[in-house]
Symmetry: C2
Subunit: 453 residues, 2 copies
């Protein structure tokens, strides 16, 4: 009859119960760790006024924003006044500007919500995806970056990851480096876009792209020499810092930026991020609002990053009119789940249907008592399924119980009722026994609790 | 500098930490109860293909749907191809049609997600709001309605509501009633819209509107006589059923519908909804997809309902081509929170900042050790705040600790370090004492656990 497609829109997904349980498990760990680091939850609307978002994510970002049509008589104009949230950072900056008098001067928040980007869907890349963000507003201390890296590292460790690497760089070191190599300021944005692809298209590809974008041959060579030297070797943090320091030592902002990186590395020692940091001067991060340290987390076998972040000391100022120092990190929920699924990292218990007992009845006359028994069992804090179409034939009930992996079935029948009893069947062993109806809920609850221990 | 407004868009809200904690508390109770009734979680995308939504909510509903502009080169067309989720029921029907082979034949799901409606904002009415839905697909048994009412009643009881009323009606009883009163089928939709306003605009208002909409004076009088008689008295369930039965007994579908209502009432006895049902033949429910029993929950002092639902046996058929019987109930999160806030029903513990201890340090040389101590404390499963701008002057740290209601402060200073100690200050009693640095984390954890018991 209808020809409406029943698939979810391109780049989005429906989550069936097992999917939701996996997602909830990861989000629960994320939330627990973030809270143990003192981050507090906030939530913002799914859409923002369109001008809040435009101009914050660079030219590429602007194109990927989902825009919402004006409503009512203005719908015909074809204009948009609202847009779906593109990340959680810009809304946070707006929130900090709006509620500054209510928030502590040093404010740490976490936020786990979906964002939407009209990107081309690919493996691990969706148009609707969840970000798990932590941000600290109001401090320039590198302790903030160390705590961010500690928190996200602890999340990954608790989820079972032991091979992740933190790539660390600094926006000011990066522009010192480009300037030193001879890339003029006007071309630095273009150059960053090219260099960001180093692990995807290789040194040759980056070199070609730099030349195409107007970078001089000498500057291109200087960049490539530096980057291939430092990244292909993946040297020890200290020697990478030293190499970077030597390269930018003449630049006015170079040594300061390298010092900051050095401090962040030192402060991460002894915490959960210990030993996982690699200095990666080719790391650029796409978003335009970063001003200081930038970082990304990678795991072997995953194209792209599992999360990233950095310091952005001027973004709040775009809303507030005065700057508020800030830094944050965003873990990508879908990437984490993708890798955990591929590697079989979910504990078996996560996807199990949380069901203790199912009640069924043999005929309509017993419906009321079945509902009452289900209530009594729930009052014992059990999770209880009630099969609504009970009939003299048990096969439907049994089939359903097995599809839900219910461990125990309670059957209410006429004969049992005449004897003041119910039948309790263990669906694993298929053994069954009679139990007095009057004390059935208490008896069953006791039995389940004993089995659980 | 910028003139961008920092307010959230009209009809939406930002949730600061205390708000989120209140919302999480309610959602946790909802989720626990829904799971104890055997409902399983699903989630669907925030937006659907626009044709999935159009035509499902009646003419009024179509106008309130947020539409998303096409992207890229098609953006200039001003056309929309996607639309924000308007409720959770239509997406569920799509999901059931799409994944029928993977889902059990009898499928119970819950879903707690936001929906968006371009309604005029008012008290308790937002453009972005959360629905907490349960639905059971695949059974025509009235046990389903009884379980739905049991589950939502138990949610409300657990949250502390003791004065809610369940209004129950039946779409087929309602049309039998209108037909018997002399309202022709073509005018019944209009008549329902008018009658639905009975508690808002009174009998006189409804009468005027019925006449305006073309209902004959005789039919209008018959309707009003019946409705004012039955609703103003709010009679006992049995006498209301009897009155309704007498009125529609000649209609082909009347007695059957009244029997169904009767059964649902009986089956609810002894469960959490016991004694809360009122038969209300004026209840119409706006959405067009209902086919059987319809219900709403009201509490004194709240304009409108706290939730509602009903049976919709043909909606899945719009996607699947064959009907799947279904019934559901949706609790409105914001309405629940509104009433709970007005009545002071939230436990005090809900909004407390979950923080055990804060670490601060007197000068940059101690940052590393502060980070290490924070890690050690977190390894003890404590929730730990670290003040990033520690300095010799303690006042900033103290001010921040007090803004977060932190109960205990650990201070790392040069003198303490020289002695191998830290200072532990109780921020309630303001007493402080020295503790050995080496065992500080364990000692503090033990102390906090003793205080908690």
């Amino acid at each position: 009859m209808s020809t409406t497609s029943t698939k979810p829109p391109s780049g989005t997904r429906d989550f069936l119960p097992e999917d939701v349980r996996r997602r909830d498990y990861v989000m629960r760990v994320v939330r627990e760790v973030y809270e143990s680091y003192g981050f507090e939850p906030i939530e913002t609307p799914a859409y923002e006024n369109i001008e809040t978002l435009l101009g914050k994510y660079g030219e590429e970002g602007n194109k990927l924003i989902f825009k919402i049509l004006k409503r009512g008589e203005h719908e015909a104009s074809g204009e948009a006044d609202l847009a779906l949230r593109y990340d959680l950072t810009v809304p946070l900056a707006r929130v900090v500007a709006q509620y500054q008098s209510e928030l502590p001067r040093f404010f740490k928040r976490y936020q786990i919500q979906p964002v939407w980007r009209a990107d081309r869907p690919a493996k691990g890349r969706f148009r609707e995806f969840y970000q798990c963000d932590i941000d600290a507003m109001g401090s320039t201390s590198p302790v903030v970056e160390a705590e961010l890296l500690g928190a996200v590292s602890e999340v990954l460790i608790r989820l079972g990851f032991n091979d992740f690497v933190i790539r660390l760089n600094h926006r000011k070191a990066l522009s010192a480096l480009l300037e030193t190599a001879g890339v003029p300021e006007a071309l630095q944005g273009d150059a960053l876009t090219a260099i960001d692809k180093l692990d995807k298209i290789g040194a040759e590809g980056v070199g070609a792209e730099l030349l195409t974008r107007g970078v001089s041959p000498a500057a291109t060579k200087a960049c490539l020499d530096f980057f291939t030297g430092i990244t292909t070797e993946m040297p020890h943090v200290d020697s990478a810092l030293q190499r970077l320091r030597t390269f930018v030592e003449k630049h006015h902002a170079g040594p300061g930026a390298v010092d900051e990186l050095d401090t962040i590395v030192r402060l991460t020692d002894g915490g959960p991020g210990h030993g996982r940091i690699r200095i990666d001067p080719s790391l650029a991060r796409g978003l335009s609002y970063y001003t200081g340290a930038i970082m990304e987390i990678a795991v072997p076998g995953l194209q792209g990053s599992m999360g990233g972040g950095g310091r952005y000391d001027t973004l709040v100022g775009m809303f507030l009119g005065r700057d508020v120092p800030a830094a944050g990190f965003s873990l990508g929920l879908e990437r984490i789940i993708l890798v955990m699924t591929e590697r079989g990292m979910f504990p078996e218990s996560v996807t199990r249907v949380p069901m203790d007992v199912m009640v069924t009845f043999l005929g309509d006359d017993l419906r009321s008592d079945a509902l009452r028994l289900a209530s009594e069992l729930r009052a014992e804090r059990l999770r209880v399924e009630l099969f609504p179409d009970g009939s003299r034939k048990l096969d439907k009930s049994l089939k359903y119980a097995s599809s839900r992996n219910v461990p125990m079935l309670v059957i209410l029948g006429e004969d049992e009722r005449a004897r003041g009893e119910v039948t309790v069947r263990d669906l694993q062993t298929r053994q069954q026994q009679a139990a007095p109806r009057a004390t059935a809920a208490r008896d069953i609850a006791r039995r389940i609790r004993i089995e659980a221990t």
